[in-house]
Symmetry: D2
Subunit: 336 residues, 4 copies
């Protein structure tokens, strides 16, 4: 039974705890901690968790914890990941891996020093059956080489304080990961475009915005990013290959004919859209840890997304594509 | 220039006149008549029609009229068709051809006596590109033999006085024609089923009802018939063949994502659903008359639909399939 | 940790064992048995199962087993269910519950004697998110009363020895359950229709066939049943209500544009279609057993489907609807 | 009866002649001409056209011709349009209006001198019921302001000699017109992006390429342009508004379930995609000429598309958005 310690008992942390309890045999949530002790206590009580720690560091160091799951605030991620590596414990870190490329590089160095991959980043879309099938088709070559990706990432309600930069580094970050993964390619150039401001969005922040990327092989990617689209949570992705296109489907949902229209519901928040992907993700992570292996997005993937986001945010208002400069990829990350 | 006389200046009659004027070169509406003279006068004025006749018979007999289009009340159809045949003039008759099988037989006899097909019945769905493509695929054999048809004919608002029987003889009549045509087969048995009454329909009349048919080769057909479906005018048809199915598409209409749903509008009345089919129908009819030929649904098709409707209405409440008995098909109707 | 004993180590049994192991925390497969001892041994080895029994009865009686899962041959179901009830153990039985209505009645009597529901039948479609949403909409009343269901159950390959009767009692049995459940209504009449024989089906057996049903409130149901449809495993279901229709969606699958067509793949066998439903089903069953409660389809539902199937098979070739006669529903089954 | 003279008897010219004959009452093709006299003669014979002229100029000047339709080679358009204006005759010119902005300006000046709009440009998509409905929704304001357009223009086979520049000026020209029209806005900036070259396209030419545009109000437009997409002729367009999106539908086409897939055919060349739009376009043009009015895309629209195309082609390989500079819009073009 793998004993997991969860750092961060907010909505996402509790959702992962529920998931580990109800859907992932072979794992138990042995410990939790939160910046607000009360929140950790409530969670521990609700889910029968034996150990509560005042700090993430204590949780990571405890003998009660075999592996760590980080669902705390974004700014704390890098520190907890580094601490987990110091303790030699497998760690699952919600995205983003770190706030800066520099912090990502430190994590990579720590892993390289260990000579072993222990970090997984929570890019759950890679576990969605739709994206997986898209990748399978791209890689099969049956439609020829991929040439372009057209994507949209639309949210219904703009969270308080979510700046223009975070629209890229926290929202479009999922596309920054999934497009690399679908194409099996790294980014070369990028640019963020300003768009006519929606009157439904918070003043002073760019919404919508468009992310443009070019990969090493010349593939072009456009991602529409909306923080308050006025109608729902809607994720679209189309890979255009030499002999055809492949599109992510809308979720499985009943079709109604009523009131002079044929309609299919669209989700209004993100929590249900990739719920199956989250389930598979944690299940496969626990299996991998059990087998002392790794198969998910790792520190390198967290780094790549972070470098792209940084560069894109710097390109804003320049009217130019900016070069996305990454370090050479260490061999450790070629394996899985 | 083909001089056409139109009998009946109600909504359908005027729509055909507009169509002949605006979309069918080579034809002119030379005369019109209506049970209410005032209606004919108004129409004549609106569309610059030179001759108004007090009766359909006078219009048919006039030297100003080369061909006749009948859009008057259902009960008057058979009489005007017979009169047109007496005058040896091509006649386009809105469905139904006649109210009884006996009247249809008289029309067939009259055509047989002329030794020439002059009658076309307004089964416009045969001109819809969707049904045409369905027929093409069925006949190509690429999906094997047809085995079943599932169809729905749903109207939004039940017209005053439209009885249970008329739900079959005036509404489902389109399916009675199109299914024979799609399958290239005649009916053997039929039955109407009563369904739980919709509270939105007129009391005392059966709505919805289900029509079941079996063809000579054993194909099964089910047609859901609704007179007040609560949401729109919706026509669905699926042919199930040995190796696959073919479905009539929903009409060409924009897809909207808004208000937590992806939706496509559904029409609320019948007038627009097959408007392209009506356009093609009249255009091809005029071309055929010009060439002294025929290529549309004729008296035999009007008769076949009428016999099926009669039998189905007699089967109501018997709980049994009833044999659909037709006369032997005269050779005249094998040609086209 | 709930100790489950699995009877039957064929494809379905092994799939359930895998599921219990990988996706259902709180349960362990403690024992297994099979008609072929070798099959049980292989399975035990593959999945680390401690106890193998020569007979289902021994397994059911063992102190190592808290709850029983039956996935053996159809003819053995009723006996194992009765034995489980004798031992007072919760039992999950793959459909059908029994081969005859009489055996179903014995099971109901045994449960009534216990005064407690212990039996769940494997009608997994009730756990599919699509059917669940359909039921939610029907019950919400937002579209008015349900009036009709149009359904298709199409299989690609006809299993050896699957007779016309089994097309109803083993294949359409899923629709016999799901339609009752969607409508919240019992069947009153039923009839099976013969259809033009597909040349791709086994000679001597009826394929396709059409099942017609009428419920107590007068709702009409038609189910197309195909054992070798020539193209895929395809399940369709539409509930027609007074103010609109609700349709089961096709599974979540990528959309490809290639080779002059826009296409979505259709599964070629049943095993993947309701895989999520199977996962939820077993998970919820284990939760219910843990809580000493029940929430799934029970003995009454197994009985209702069995009576309908029997009657339908007797109606074959009569050309008439036959009355579906059920015993009065015991209060025990009103609760859940 | 409006007497039309057609210049250019190639595929498009003959198709328009057929259309005028078969679908547009009130017009007659009175004359034709072609660079190859033989081609004009053949066409005249096939369609019973009385007058053949050696040159477009003679045709335009003839008393037999009331209105001119130009379907000759692109380079000849501007000259014939100017000649028609000189003769004060209404002229329908296939796109492009001219090869250079300078020539478009000459045409505008000529129309301004006449003080009357006589020129219509063949941007037939404005007559497509799908685009029309999209515009209606945008203008209704029900989805708020438009913010972005995502479009794809994909052709199956790259015509010989179609250069990278022509991909913009002759292919994407339709999007350059339709996007302005949908948004009711002019372009401010534009850029063409190079994309990884498809191995199925002609070497040396850019295929695919991406057109980026920004309008005066800050709307962003991206158009994927493919000359050999490997699968079909596929036109996609989505307008993203503040409260939702509106998408152009795929054409009306039957849905087939066969061979492990649900599929809808995609056209393989452009000729059928907007055939209904072409029909409506010519019909409305003849009605407008009859009424001495105008309601279609005019010289200003031809100019706007031309300026955008020129600027886009100059931006190629600069990596920058380039300003799209237009003259002030004369009042004459505000009316319709």
């Amino acid at each position: 039974m793998l004993k997991i310690g969860v750092i961060g008992c907010g909505a996402i942390g509790r959702d992962h705890i529920r998931r580990l309890r109800n859907l992932v045999p072979g794992a138990t949530v042995a410990a939790c901690s939160d910046y607000f002790r009360e929140s950790a206590e409530k969670t521990a009580q609700q889910y029968d968790i034996s150990h509560i720690f005042d700090t993430g560091e204590e949780l990571i160091g405890s003998g009660e914890v075999d592996a760590v799951l980080i669902a705390s605030s974004d700014t704390s991620h890098a520190g907890y990941v580094l601490e987990s590596l110091k303790q030699g414990k497998p760690v699952f870190c919600e995205k983003p891996l770190a706030q800066t490329s520099a912090d990502c590089e430190k994590i990579i160095e720590a892993e390289l020093a260990l000579g072993k991959r222990l970090v997984q980043v929570g890019f759950m879309r890679r576990y969605d059956p739709g994206y997986r099938e898209m990748k399978r088709i791209v890689e099969s070559g049956e439609l020829g080489n991929p040439l372009m990706i057209h994507a949209s990432h639309r949210n219904m309600h703009q969270p308080q304080g979510l700046t223009s930069e975070m629209g890229v580094s926290n929202i479009a970050i999922h596309e920054l990961d999934i497009c690399r993964w679908l194409l099996g390619d790294e980014y070369k150039n990028g640019q963020v475009l300003k768009v006519r401001q929606s009157s439904y969005s918070v003043k002073g922040y760019d919404n919508p915005q468009i992310v443009l990327l070019e990969t090493g092989t010349g593939c072009r990617i456009d991602v529409e990013v909306q923080l308050s689209d006025g109608y729902g949570y809607d994720i679209q992705c189309q890979v255009v290959c030499e002999k055809g296109t492949i599109s992510l489907p809308d979720p499985y949902a009943v079709v109604t004919r009523s009131d002079a229209g044929r309609s299919v519901p669209i989700l209004t928040d993100w929590s249900q859209r990739f719920i199956q992907a989250y389930d598979i993700e944690l299940n496969e992570w626990v299996r991998a840890v059990e087998n002392n292996s790794c198969n998910g997005p790792g520190a390198w993937d967290g780094y790549a997304a972070c470098v792209a986001a940084d560069t894109l945010n710097r390109s804003r208002n320049t009217g130019r594509f900016m070069e996305i400069q990454m370090m050479r990829k260490p061999d450790l990350y070629d394996v899985c």
